[in-house]
């Protein structure tokens, strides 16, 4: 079975402060990990995926297989980063995406 855990329902940070959204996963094989974002009144969209090794909107995430983690980080939070963030995983059955419960990021001006 595959599982994604996001321990924080809400994370509040001040503008300019570093951000780390935590994600841990459980999967016996080699997963592919993603971060999805949903801004207010917008639809869910892909932010980044670990195989791309990209930095999107200043966010990065490194897959740590030893700790089974895929935390999302940004060195300096911006107000426009306020949104709901979901960590997600696909396994061998790569079409089937398992999402975490989400973390609401609130950036305080």
């Amino acid at each position: 079975a595959q599982r994604v855990t996001q321990p924080e329902k809400l994370l509040s940070v001040f503008k300019g402060a570093p951000v780390e959204l935590k994600c841990n996963y459980s999967y016996s094989g080699s997963p592919e990990l993603f971060w999805y974002v949903q801004y207010s009144r917008q639809r869910l969209q892909l932010l980044l995926r670990h195989i791309s090794r990209e930095s999107i909107k200043g966010f990065t995430a490194d897959l740590n297989k030893g700790e089974t983690s895929f935390h999302l980080k940004k060195p300096f939070a911006q107000e426009e980063d306020s949104a709901m963030y979901y960590c997600a995983l696909t396994g061998d059955d790569y079409q089937k995406v398992t999402f975490g419960t989400g973390t609401k990021l609130q950036v305080i001006p």
Partner: protein, 113 residues
């Protein structure tokens, strides 16, 4: 071009009724997915189509739920004998193929009274 669209945006029904939710994927996308998102939860996989066939329906919670995609484009999620526990946002997504980025629709909010 147009993104994934879903209709209706909101649906209120009574317990025991039948509902149909529609998804129009991005033109040319061969893969189509349905998810259910309950309050405070992340999206939960229901079913995946590759073309016209359901490649994986393991997420459908019971036999009251059924989905079709007869021409490999538009899909309809059908729920029989609705229950209050079916109340959720139903999301549709499409992609070029199974391993590609999924593009989500705005969702249909279903409320069963």
């Amino acid at each position: 071009g147009a993104g994934v669209s879903q209709t209706p945006s909101n649906k209120v029904t009574e317990k025991g009724k039948y509902v149909e939710l529609r998804c129009d994927p991005i033109s040319g996308h061969t893969a189509l997915y349905w998810y259910r998102q309950s309050l405070g939860q992340g999206p939960e996989f229901l079913i995946y189509f590759q073309g016209t066939g359901a490649a994986d329906d393991s997420g459908l919670p019971n036999d009251r739920f059924f989905a079709v995609r007869p021409e490999g484009s538009v899909s309809t999620l059908k729920i029989q004998r609705t229950e209050r526990g079916d109340s959720a946002v139903y999301l549709c997504a499409s992609s070029w193929g199974g391993a590609n980025t999924q593009y989500f629709g705005p969702g249909t909010r279903l409320t069963v009274l």
